[in-house]
C-alpha cells in the first residue's frame, strides 16, 4: 500500500542572491513497511525534500507546486475515530492541521545530531513522555510505562534509572537511541531518518542501523533514509533514489542501483567510494563541483561534470526514461534515449560490480 506519494514537487528559497530553486520536480513513492533511501551530495536537496514532508521548511522556503499525498491508515484521536484510505495533501494543510494530525503522530523524524535535538534541561524520561502527553493527552502513568517500554525497545539497559538522566550524561550512541525512542513514542507510520548516524562512530552506527531495522520489522514502519554514505544505503534500503541538484536522477531497487547503475552520476558516486578491496593508485572522482542553483540552468544540470554529455544535454532537460526489463528502475539521462549512442559504464566500475557480485 502506498503511504506517501510526492508528485512534481518544486521548492525554492528566497535569498539575497535571488531565488534558489532547491527542488525541481521530485517524485517519490513510499510503500508501507518499506525503506527508501535518498542519496546525494550536500546541497542536492535531500534534506529539503523531507523537511517539506514534515512541514518544517525554513522561513524563506516556498513550495511552488506539487503535492505530497499522505494516505491515512487509521486515526488515534477519539473525536475523529477510525478512518482508512483517506488521502490528504500535506502541502495544502494549514499549519494547525499539520501539527495536529501529521507531524509527530504519523510522520516522525530523527535528526543528525542527537545533542542538538535533545533538550539539555529536561530528563530524558520527560522528553520521551512529552509527545504522548501532548498529542494523545495520555495520563502520566501510562506515558511513563510506555516510555519505559520504548527505552527497552531501543536497547537501553536499566531503563528506570536512565529515565532520570539528562542528555549530557549519556554517550552519543545512547542519545541517538533516545531520539529514536522519542520519534517512536507516538506510533508513527513513517520514520524519516536524516543522516541518523553521521555524527556517530562506525561501531555504534552499525548498532543503530540494526536497531532501526529491527524496530521497523516489529512495528511495520515505513522508513526514509537520507544519507550520503552508500555503505549505509546498502545495509538498510529496499529502494534507492539518487538525487542531484534538486532532481532525482536515478531511482530503482537497491540491486538495480548498485549492480546495474545507468546514470553517469551514479557511476561516479559508486566509483568514488573506496571499499575495503580498493587498491587502485588513485580514486575516481567526479570532476567539478555541484552547480549553483540560484542561476537558471539550461538542459541537464549534471552535463558540465559529465564526460559522456551529449549535445542535447546542454539544451534540454532529460525526462525520466524507463530501463528496459524493469518497472522500478528509472533514469533521467539522455543516454537512455533509444537514439543515443551506446555508452558503457567505466571499466573500473564494471570490474568492481563484478567483484561485488562474486562475494
Amino acid at each position: 500500500m502506498k503511504i506517501l506519494e510526492i508528485r512534481d514537487l518544486h521548492i525554492s528559497f528566497k535569498t539575497d542572491n535571488g531565488k534558489v530553486r532547491a527542488i525541481r520536480g521530485v517524485n517519490l513513492d513510499l510503500n508501507k513497511g518499506e525503506t527508501i533511501a535518498i542519496v546525494g551530495e550536500s546541497g542536492s536537496g535531500k534534506s529539503v525534500t523531507t523537511k517539506a514532508i514534515m512541514g518544517i521548511l525554513a522561513g524563506n522556503g516556498v513550495i511552488e507546486q506539487g503535492s505530497i499525498n499522505y494516505t491515512w491508515e487509521d486515526d488515534y484521536s477519539e473525536e475523529v475515530g477510525k478512518i482508512e484510505g483517506k488521502t490528504v495533501d500535506i502541502v495544502q494543510l494549514t499549519k494547525e492541521e499539520l501539527q495536529r494530525d501529521i507531524r509527530g503522530r504519523k510522520i516522525a523524524m530523527v535528526f543528525q545530531d542527537p545533542m542538538t535535538s535533545l533538550n539539555p534541561t529536561m530528563t530524558i524520561g520527560m522528553q520521551v513522555m512529552e509527545p504522548m502527553l501532548y498529542n494523545y493527552k495520555m495520563d502520566k502513568e501510562h506515558a511513563y510505562q510506555k516510555a519505559l517500554e520504548l527505552l527497552e525497545l531501543v536497547g537501553i539497559t536499566n531503563a528506570k534509572k536512565r529515565m532520570k538522566c539528562y542528555p549530557h550524561q549519556l554517550s552519543g550512541g545512547m542519545r541517538q537511541r533516545i531520539v529514536i525512542a522519542i520519534a517512536l513514542s507516538c506510533d508513527p507510520y513513517v520514520l524519516i531518518c536524516d543522516e541518523p548516524t553521521t555524527a556517530l562512530d562506525v561501531t555504534i552506527q552499525a548498532k543503530i542501523l540494526e536497531l532501526i531495522k529491527d524496530i521497523q520489522k516489529k512495528k511495520d514502519l515505513s522508513v526514509i533514509y537520507i544519507t550520503h554514505d552508500l555503505g549505509v544505503v546498502a545495509k538498510v534500503a529496499d529502494y534507492v533514489n539518487v538525487m542531484y541538484a534538486g532532481k532525482i536522477v536515478e531511482t530503482g531497487t537497491i540491486d538495480e542501483i548498485f549492480y546495474d547503475p545507468q546514470h553517469p552520476y551514479t557511476w561516479g558516486l559508486l566509483s568514488a567510494m573506496p571499499d575495503l578491496d580498493t587498491d587502485d593508485s588513485i580514486l575516481y572522482t567526479i570532476p567539478g563541483s555541484p552547480p549553483n542553483l540560484a542561476k537558471e540552468v539550461q538542459g541537464d544540470v549534471f552535463a558540465p561534470r559529465n564526460k559522456f554529455a551529449l549535445n542535447i544535454d546542454y539544451r534540454l532537460e532529460p525526462p525520466m526514461f524507463d530501463v528496459e526489463g524493469s518497472n522500478t528502475h528509472k533514469v533521467a539521462s539522455w543516454l537512455m534515449h533509444p537514439n543515443a549512442p551506446k555508452i558503457e559504464m567505466p571499466k573500473e566500475l564494471k570490474h568492481k560490480i563484478a567483484k561485488m557480485l562474486d562475494n
Binding site: 561501531t203 552506527q205 544505503v233 546498502a234 534500503a237 573506496p274 580514486l283 563541483s289
Partner: protein, 307 residues
C-alpha cells in the same frame, strides 16, 4: 632503510579534572613514522586519537613519554630553536575547514601567515609567488588568492587548509579527520591530492580518522586506538588480513560496504570493554608476525589467535 621522522615512545597524556579524577586520554602509546609514510590512527570518538596528534604538535604538554622528531626530543621544555623547527616542520590540517580559516583574511594572507611569522622570504613578490605556486599545486588557481574563505566550497576550503600546511615544506603533516566533513565525491578528490603531494614531496602523514575504508586506502601502517591504548598495530595488509584483537574485529565488521548482497546478511560484531573482561593496563605488546603487534596478556593472546 628509510629515515624515521617521528618516534613516539610511551606517550602519556592525562587531564586532571579534579583532585580525585584524572582522565587518562592517552596511555602509554608507542609508534614511529618513517619518511614518506602514512600512519593511520583509527578508533572511536573519545579514544584519544586527536589527543595524540595534539600532544605531538605540542598543543598540549605531554604528561610523560618522549616524542622524537627529526632526532630532537620535543616532549619537554622547548628552546627557541626547537620551537621554530617544530612550528615549521610539523603542520596540521583540521577537520572543519570553515572553522580553521580566519573569515576576515584573504586566502593569500591565510596561506602566507606561516611565512610571515617565520620570515621565510626576502620580498613581497617572493612571498606571493610562493603562495601562487602552492595554490596551483593543490588544484586552485592564482585568482583564488584574493578571495575570502566564505567564497569557497567545502572541498576548496580543505584545499586551502592543505596549502597552508604545505607552504612550510613540512616533514610531517598531521591530518586530524581532514576529510570527515566532506562529501564522498569531494573526499576522493582531497585524498587523491594528499597522495599526489606525498609522492612529490615525501612528506610523512599522521592520518587520524574513524572511516576505516579511507584509512585503509591511504595508510601504510595502521594503529587501532581504543581508550587511549593502541590495541593493535601493523601494516595495512596485516591488520586487514589478520585482525587479532576483538576491538579491531568489531571495527572491521562494522564498516558498511557499498554492496547490498553482503551488507544485508551481515551483523556487526559488538565489542564492549566493560563486559569483555579485558584490562588494557595489564596487557603487553605481543608480536604476531612482521611488524604486527597486539596488546594482550598471554592467555588472551592464545585465545584470540585460536579463534
Amino acid at each position: 632503510m628509510d629515515k624515521v621522522i617521528l618516534e613516539v615512545k610511551n606517550l602519556k597524556q592525562y587531564f586532571r579534572i579534579n583532585r580525585k579524577f584524572t582522565v587518562r586520554a592517552v596511555d602509554d602509546v608507542t609508534f614511529e613514522i618513517k619518511k614518506g609514510q602514512t600512519f593511520g590512527l583509527v578508533g572511536e570518538s573519545g579514544s584519544g586519537k586527536s589527543t595524540i596528534g595534539r600532544s605531538i604538535i605540542r598543543l598540549y604538554n605531554p604528561t610523560s613519554g618522549e616524542v622524537i622528531f627529526n632526532g630532537q626530543n620535543i616532549s619537554g621544555q622547548l628552546d627557541a630553536e626547537q620551537n621554530r623547527l617544530l612550528r615549521i616542520k610539523m603542520q596540521m590540517i583540521f577537520q572543519d575547514p570553515m572553522a580553521c580559516l580566519n573569515p576576515r583574511k584573504k586566502v593569500l594572507d591565510i596561506i602566507a601567515e606561516g611565512l610571515d611569522i617565520h620570515k621565510l622570504y626576502t620580498n613581497t613578490n617572493e612571498r606571493n609567488e610562493k603562495v601562487y605556486n602552492i595554490l596551483e599545486k593543490v588544484g586552485l588557481s592564482q585568482e583564488h588568492a584574493n578571495r575570502y574563505p566564505h567564497q569557497f566550497s567545502g572541498g576548496q576550503r580543505q584545499r586551502i587548509g592543505i596549502a597552508r600546511a604545505l607552504i612550510m615544506e613540512p616533514d610531517l603533516i598531521i591530518a586530524d579527520e581532514a576529510i570527515s566533513a566532506l562529501d564522498v565525491s569531494i573526499q576522493a578528490q582531497v585524498v587523491n591530492l594528499m597522495k599526489k603531494i606525498q609522492e612529490e614531496t615525501q612528506t610523512a602523514f599522521l592520518f587520524i580518522a574513524h572511516d576505516l575504508s579511507m584509512v585503509k586506502y591511504i595508510s601504510d601502517v595502521i594503529g587501532v586506538l581504543h581508550l587511549g591504548h593502541i590495541v593493535e598495530m601493523g601494516t595495512t595488509e596485516e591488520i586487514f588480513a589478520n585482525p587479532i584483537h576483538p576491538y579491531t574485529k568489531s571495527l572491521l565488521t562494522a564498516i558498511p560496504t557499498p554492496n547490498p548482497k553482503v551488507e544485508r546478511e551481515k551483523i556487526a560484531q559488538a565489542f564492549d570493554y566493560d563486559t569483555s573482561g579485558i584490562d588494557y593496563n595489564i596487557g603487553q605488546k605481543r608480536l604476531v608476525d612482521g611488524t604486527h603487534f597486539v596488546l594482550a596478556t598471554e592467555n588472551e593472546y592464545k585465545k584470540w589467535v585460536s579463534l
